[in-house]
Amino acid sequence: MNTAVKTAPTSDRPNAPRRPVYLDYQATTPMDPRVLEAMMPYFTEKFGNPHSRNHEYGWEAEEGVEKARQQIADLIGGDEREIVFTSGATESNNLAIGGVARFYKDQRDHIVTLVTEHKCVLDTCRHLEQEGFKVTYLPVQQNGLVDLAALEAAITERTAIVSVMAANNEIGVIQPLAEIGALCRKKGAFFHTDCAQAFGKIPLDVEAMKIDLMSISGHKIYGPKGIGALFVRRRPRVRLQAMIHGGGQERGMRSGTLPTPLCVGLGKAAELAKNEMAAEATRMKALRDRFMAAINAKLPEVFLNGDLENRLPSNLNLSFAYVEGEGLMMGIKDLSVSSGSACTSASLEPSYVLRALGVEEELAHTSLRIGFGRFTTEAEVDYAAERIVQAVSKLRAMSPLWEMAQDGIDIKSIQWAAH
């Protein structure tokens, strides 16, 4: 197919080299220029160690860090003393689950989580199993949401912590946090939620949702990479065993000199999110619906993975039946999307998240994750839809499975030789 391809809409820099349209905002986000601006002085003139108590350099750095702590706490209805800075959501998840489990292990040695959690939660749980903890990995329903009755049944008086992510990184589905929080409180287990994808995107309230620990990431919300935070509830108090030992910073929960500019950046990003979240969500939903309408108008047999209603407005995970995802991505080189999470894109296995929804392997192989964000324009969305329609049509025309489907042959009736 040699249809003329329009050039990808570029930024407002006319001489900028043409770059692919970025639609992978669940992998990471560019920093907001306002965040960078807030950070800059802390690299140079305000370079002090925020833990230095004896001079002005330390004080002004500390002031920056403490303001950031407040900005983060404000976005989730918490107290600034409940915010522990970390290197990112992976460390936060490790610290929350491992730290709580190890601290309370004499009374409680059981952990409950979901099979669709991020690898850093699942892998942490695997390691804890090796230390003798018991872990329940709950399946999810077909729409990706946890079955609350099953969750309730899984929590016992030995359960120390329940870890359920707020919004999934691959399929964007939002779990019923308030209901989970109420269940955990009733059963006396701590509720940890990985909010790497949800923080700054959807309203979160640690009181209303009875969240005891919350993992936060900087680079998913237009802040810097290398910084995250863990909310650790003070009342009722959650205690945890530190993983990083040293000078006792962050109330002994995470030693090490704080990276002041990164903390300030995360704080600023949180403040911007607080002010702009509602308007941004409306805009994301409009972009998503516009994109979906353009795809559905031209392509049959495109399936949405995960619940549509309980979902981040900026995420789509679509299966383009009969077209293999990696081949499709190669056909849309001028779009930067992902065939799953960025962490697993090196593996040839279909997504374990999609498999957990009961998406059949052949359909799981045909999926793309498309993530919109703060800097996505309508023109980019239109262009992306057009390019995907073109590429899918071309690849379907050369797909033996599409041919069989058109001929009315049931692909399942064939004896495939697995290889």
Partner: protein, 126 residues
């Protein structure tokens, strides 16, 4: 992952996409791979009365390397005798396209597809 120019060319401008009538006596059809594994290749050869492969067609569900591998072998088998075509090795395909190690299975599948097409053709003429 950086792919070779040859691979990208075969992916972007695949040769010999299409299908022959499976029922035609001069046609051999090979269908290999599995949807659940993310790769399915259908390769067809059309053999003249002199035993020479006159034409070949393919359709592939798979990644860029799988599509390029099958496109390449349709070019290679044309003009060869059935016997000659049967000697095409996956290592030659992998070398020609400079397949990265994780994509070697695509060339194996392409070799299997030729063999399956030849076997189908031979069955018809047994």
């Amino acid at each position: 992952m950086a792919y070779s120019e040859k691979l990208i060319d075969h992916f972007e401008n695949p040769r010999n996409v299409g299908a022959f009538d499976k029922g035609d006596d001069s046609v051999g059809t090979g269908l290999v791979g599995a949807p659940a594994c993310g790769d399915v290749m259908k390769l067809q050869i059309k053999v003249g009365p002199d035993g020479i492969i006159e034409d070949a067609k393919f359709k592939t569900f798979g990644c860029g390397s799988a599509i390029a591998s099958s496109s390449l072998v349709t070019e290679w088998v044309k003009g060869k005798t059935v016997e000659e075509a049967a000697t095409i090795k996956n290592t030659d395909i992998a070398k020609h396209l400079a397949l990265p190690p994780v994509k070697i299975h695509c060339s194996v599948l392409a070799e299997d597809a030729i063999k399956a097409a030849i076997e189908d053709y031979r069955k018809k003429h047994a």
